[in-house]
Symmetry: C2
Subunit: 338 residues, 2 copies
């Protein structure tokens, strides 16, 4: 059994690769809900939708988000009425938001997600990290911004300082997440190449998850979202830089701390990882341009993970993921290039 | 000043004709909200939208309801997700429902309507009959049905018995309606050719309106929605029949009772109105196929009204519009054919 943690576009692509490589019962994909928000009274779950649409093969590959063959008659009519147009809602995509908002009156988000996935022939399990509301707030040099204000309206321009996760203390991790982490059959935990700070951190920050991960019996392998000091998509590199972390394997190893047993990086970054203490490293081609790339990277990541064992150690009380900046010195096999 | 009472398609067409004939400040159109409903969590105001779209010149003339050039990507996507598809929501039309629902969290329906009209360049005043919730329930031989269940889902098939107007006792008529009725400058009250039972009755049933109308100083003129024993659109004829009323000028005169000073009928029905006691009659071509028809019928109706005076009499306490079946014997000028 494989547990994948995913956010938006990059995470969705690797999730599709994992789904191509694994049977439905062998994969659980836990998706960030920190960037969920209410827009025009509709509940929008951007990361769930990106993962769901991508696994269904309905995603817009050029754009990265949204549906292929999307139309925009709603947005034109909304503009004509003087409505808010800073967040793009395609005509087809809107059905997801309207129907989800409607069903959320009587069902938890995970149930709605499961039903939508079934209708879209997504056979692997896609699970929101929690059914409780968690809202990522971004602390910037211009003050605290709601996630979509920062990410979409301001195009991630303000200087990033930290995230605050409203509701995180009261949020119960979805039972599928806790169950997967406790499952003796769990073979690996794959952190997909999503934004570490905005997409993965909220999942790790759910109550009890860091603790469960520290007691893991399966290795954690992250796939780097960076190639050559750049993020493939989105503001991840800018944010790492603004956090004082290098946009490199060392930066990711530092960010994830001793949560990481293995790190998959692009060949372009192999030199940067030479002699890096901490996680085992595998360098390969991490750019996912098509289905074949996704499946190949997924299979390589799974194979890499199968050769790792989690470091077992007792957590110290004052440790916390994301605050840990010093790299723990752990002699690990360095696995370069396949 | 002219006050028009309108429901859906037929009412909207005459309202557009009146708007073509009158300056913006000389016309107030009061629209039925009894068939408003919540669908998928969205507030839908079918009659307001039909009037607004028609006055804006955006309506679909073939279909009767909705917007011209509408697309249906939302509905296709909703069907794919297993959502309810019995009520058609076009992609453009949906912007009205989403944005209205959103604004209704902080504004009354009349304010939202006014803002939408301004954005759509509708310069004449379109006012919901009330800002309070009124919901038309249809009592049928199959029991009580919510309006849209009866009208759309069941295609008006069950035998009609009566309407119940949930919320009507507590509903305050919009101040524009009461103000227009009290306005010394009011020259006529035009009942548009909408369904008398489903569209006009809810307006007349608002607290105090029958009383205000009985004290009117301006004549009430209705334009018949029937031609040759048929409704031009919708179930009005079927409902009249099921109420035991003839689908004719006499049936309308009976339904509206002594509320009516004048009745505009189609030439095809002129013979049926011969010798009819009650309202003055004008027979003309009432079928509105295009803008020219609408404006001509509106101007003829206004001219007809200008020659009438309201019958003044004291209401008796047990009288009620719609219950009054006997035709009051009132000697009135019979104005046939223009």
């Amino acid at each position: 059994m494989i547990l994948a943690l995913a956010g938006g576009v990059g995470g969705a692509r690797l999730a599709r690769g994992l789904a191509a490589a694994l049977a439905p019962e062998a994969l659980t994909i836990i998706v960030n809900t920190g960037d969920d928000f209410e827009h025009l009274g509709l509940h929008v779950s951007p990361d769930i939708d990106t993962v769901m649409y991508t696994l269904a093969g309905l995603n817009n590959r050029q754009q990265g988000w949204g549906l292929a063959g999307e139309s925009w008659a709603f947005m034109s009519a909304l503009r004509r009425l003087g409505g808010a147009t800073w967040f793009q809602l395609g005509d087809q995509d809107l059905a997801t938001h309207v129907e989800r908002t409607w069903r959320l009156k009587t069902q938890p988000l995970s149930a709605v997600t499961a039903e939508f996935c079934a209708r879209l022939n997504v056979r692997h399990r896609v699970v929101p990290m929690t059914d409780d509301p968690v809202r990522t707030l971004v602390d910037t040099d211009e003050g605290r911004l709601a996630f979509q204000d920062y990410f979409v309206r301001r195009q991630s321009a303000p200087r990033f300082r930290a995230i605050s996760l409203a509701g995180i203390e009261a949020a119960r991790p979805h039972s599928a997440l806790a169950a997967a982490l406790a499952d003796p059959a769990l073979a690996a935990i794959v952190i997909c190449p999503s934004n570490p700070v905005l997409s993965i951190r909220p999942i790790l920050a759910l109550p009890g998850i860091t603790e469960l991960l520290r007691r893991r019996r399966a290795p954690v392998v992250a796939v780097s979202p960076f190639i050559g000091g750049q993020a493939i998509k989105g503001p991840a590199a800018k944010i790492m830089h603004e956090l004082g972390l290098p946009v490199s394997p060392a930066g990711l190893a530092s960010f994830y701390g001793d949560l990481l047993d293995g790190l998959v990086i692009d060949r372009a970054d192999a030199a940067l990882a030479e002699g890096l203490a901490g996680p085992a490293i595998m360098a390969t081609n991490t750019l996912m341009r098509d289905d074949a790339d996704q499946e190949r990277l997924a299979r390589e990541t799974l194979h890499f993970a199968s050769r790792l064992h989690p470091m077992r150690r007792q957590p110290t009380p004052d440790e916390d993921i994301g605050r840990t900046r010093g790299l723990p010195i752990r002699p690990r096999p360095q696995i370069h290039s396949r």
